[in-house]
């Protein structure tokens, strides 16, 4: 199945017939950043950088096993969690080079910067904790014990509450950042992975990889109010392993990668109905939207490529080679 699905039939999509200069022009005029697309590659220890036409600009060598990535507020720096070297590398977006490496606990995977940009919360899947690292001093300033294999982390807009999944305990920990204490454990589906929060702050969506569902947590009560399943035509529920998510700025649509089902789902966030299933590469994992939200980029962990999705038509445009085992994607625009 993988072979035939891996690379979308290029000629089908009219966007591709445009010259690359036109394709670039289709990108946002209001873009503030460089427009560069950054893809972390777990097994080739590099962040591959593409321009807006998805031409490869550079492969930045990083510490080993680069995974989650976040920009600083000014988008001048890109932080990359490098699990096998227990570090968060700092990439200078102007120079496209690693300028510094901040030591963390063992095996950092997912992390979230604080809104003031002074610290990160990093999930440490080896030691079953979330640690807060002060960026300036590079010091570990807080430790929160979690269930085994903590993964996704997200902060509330006011920074007072941190949420972390424990993949192995099937819990979402609700953590008070002031005290560093778990104030509630919310049982969710099997192997909870990642979060998105609706812009109004009311809902927290959690992807549960092995129970093939997304659980919606109502933040006011910290209870699961919806369990959503997404099964593309021709697939069975157990073949669907949801992981990566992103949400549009207006909160109207959630994009969800379906892992081994080789699709993403584009979901109406209000009605919770699927708008489209989009065929991408093998084991779709990470996803991000361009600033104008006209384009989504999906990393395909087992076909070592990324798929570009046109959001207007909700169709795949093309797939482009990445490094080995692409994990996350972020777009600087």
């Amino acid at each position: 199945m993988n072979g035939s699905q891996r690379h979308v039939a290029l000629a089908v999509f009219p966007l591709l017939l445009l010259p690359t200069s036109l394709l670039a022009m289709a990108w946002p005029a209001e873009a503030t950043g460089t427009g560069l697309v950054f893809v972390s590659n777990e097994k080739s220890n590099e962040v591959v950088v593409y321009d807006q036409s998805f031409n490869r600009v550079k492969a930045i060598s990083t510490s080993r096993r680069p995974r989650d990535m976040h920009f600083n507020a000014a988008h001048t720096l890109l932080y990359v969690a490098c699990s096998d070297d227990d570090a968060i590398d700092v990439i200078d977006v102007g120079k496209l080079a690693v300028v510094k490496s901040i030591q963390t606990g063992p095996s950092p995977e997912m992390f979230v910067p604080t809104s003031d940009g002074t610290a990160f919360y990093v999930s440490d899947e080896e030691n079953s904790r979330v640690e807060k690292i002060d960026i300036a001093s590079e010091a570990d300033v807080q430790n929160v014990a979690t269930g085994p294999e903590p993964e996704g982390v997200i902060l509330s807009p006011d920074g007072k509450t941190l949420y972390a999944t424990s993949e192995s305990a099937d819990l979402v920990h609700v953590i008070d950042t002031a005290s560093g204490k778990v104030i509630k454990n919310v049982p969710v589906g099997t192997r909870p992975r990642r979060f998105v929060m609706t812009p109004d702050g009311k809902e927290l969506w959690v992807s549960c990889e092995l129970s093939s569902e997304v659980d919606v947590i109502e933040r006011a009560t910290n209870t699961v109010t919806d369990q959503l399943t997404f099964v593309p035509p021709g697939f069975r529920e157990e073949q669907v392993t949801p992981v990566g998510m992103t949400i549009t700025r207006d909160g109207s649509k959630v994009l969800l990668t379906l892992g081994r089902a080789n699709h993403i789902a584009i979901v109406d966030a209000k009605s919770k109905q699927v708008l489209a299933y989009v065929l991408v590469g093998s084991r779709a994992w990470g996803v991000d939207l361009s600033h104008d939200e006209k384009t989504a980029v999906v990393t395909n962990g087992l076909s070592d490529d990324i798929t570009i999705v046109d959001m207007a038509s909700m169709k795949p445009v093309k797939s482009v080679p990445a490094g080995r085992t692409p994990h996350s994607v972020v777009i600087d625009d």
Partner: protein, 390 residues
């Protein structure tokens, strides 16, 4: 789109400061001087089988459960007991039941599992067989028996899928002299037959190097005079098999109990969170040894039980927990990329089977192209329509 909403409500009991606390003990029964522990079979003290006890896997399962238990206010404990013989195993299992233990993980040889399941059938016990692979145990239909060990047939089916995918259709089968070797070889041959592979010959091998046994000992003679794409070896002791790869007459790969080996787990598996599991295991053993397939099977058995305690509506009532454990509501994460649960017809845990060399996992059946009407995991092992209770 919204489903099982009632379940979500039931799950809320897990909240901090929630439901009533309970002390839950899970039994664990093994055999002193288990004949399968052949760590010293090789001469000069070279260890060819894992020297340690899969109890460590169960202990890891318990550690993993701790955070959930803390959240509920429950306490989970393991009650490991070692029996000296079958009668003692029965006595110990009955004592466990009398002491309020409902679930007992078994690390016992095939025959003992069989005897025990029969002897305690009237007790309120659910036995989880973690290390006995024989297919006949799955066909007994003991109502009190579940299996986390992969059956011989599952492992054979996994290898056969791999051979089919590679179009390696001609197989030379070598079997050792032990009854267990014959059982493994028979399971493979039946699986090969279902997938229309051709067995070009079946030969018995021996460790004896006396001249009159050389046709069954010398690897060139044993593998000579016949054509094949691959050699399957069934040598449960492992002492013959470890000298077989690279020593065959034709330059062909070796599979089975040596070479490419089907098993529940391998330390080199690096996807689906496996690295974290093996690294927690290493830490637990102070880096003395890697996690084996048997450790995975005891680990997942304990995980299954605590998962059912955490999620079953009506928990900690053991009957409710037991019903949940056996239901398709169980979606267990075994770090093998699939949600796992027990087959209702024979109590076998559905699971992928790793095909591993010494230091790499080459494939993880079910493989692409081997599809099943309801669950691809059921392409491995005896499927419902063909299942018959013996």
């Amino acid at each position: 789109m919204t489903r099982r909403f009632a379940v979500a409500v039931a799950l809320l009991m897990l909240g901090v400061g929630g439901a009533s606390a309970a002390d839950i003990r899970i039994g664990y029964l093994s055999l002193r001087d288990d004949p399968r522990d052949r760590a010293d079979v090789a001469y000069t003290n070279i260890q060819i089988a894992p020297p340690d006890d899969p109890l460590t896997g169960a202990q890891l399962g318990l550690l993993d459960a701790k955070v959930v238990a803390d959240a509920v206010g429950d306490s989970f404990a393991l009650d490991p007991q070692q029996a000296v013989d079958a009668a003692d195993a029965v006595a110990k299992a009955k004592a466990m039941a009398a002491g309020g233990e409902r679930f007992v993980v078994l690390d016992l040889p095939d025959e003992l599992v069989d005897q025990l399941a029969t002897a305690v059938k009237d007790e309120k016990l659910t036995l989880i067989n973690a290390t006995a692979h024989a297919d006949f145990l799955r066909d007994r239909c003991d109502a009190n028996l579940l299996h986390t060990a992969a059956s011989d047939r599952m492992e054979a089916d996994a290898l056969v899928q791999f051979l089919r995918l590679h179009n390696w259709t001609k197989v030379l089968v070598l079997e050792g002299p032990l009854p267990r070797d014959k059982v493994i070889a028979a399971a493979f041959k039946a699986a090969a037959d279902r997938m229309k592979l051709s067995i070009t010959d079946t030969r018995t091998v021996t460790l004896s190097r006396t001249p009159d046994a050389q046709e069954n000992n010398d690897t060139l003679l044993v593998t000579g005079g016949v054509d094949y794409d691959v050699v399957f070896v069934a040598d449960s002791e492992g002492e013959y098999g470890r000298y077989l790869p690279y020593a065959t007459q034709l330059p062909r790969p070796v599979i089975g109990t040596a070479g490419l080996v089907p098993q529940e787990w391998h330390w080199s598996w690096d996807r689906d969170g496996a690295t974290q599991v093996t690294s927690r295991f290493l830490k637990l053993t102070d880096h003395r040894r890697e996690m084996t397939a048997a450790d995975w099977s005891t680990w997942i058995a304990v995980r299954a039980v605590f998962n059912a305690y955490a999620r079953a509506p009506g928990a900690p009532d053991p009957d409710k927990v037991d019903a949940y454990l056996r239901s398709d509501k169980l979606r267990l994460d075994g770090s093998k990329g699939f949600a796992l649960n027990f087959r209702p017809w024979d109590g076998q845990l559905r699971q992928p089977v790793l095909l591993a060399t010494e230091n790499a996992v080459i494939a993880v059946p079910p493989l692409p192209g081997f599809e099943h009407a309801t669950n691809d995991l059921d392409t491995l092992g005896e499927d419902e329509p063909e299942h018959k209770c013996l």
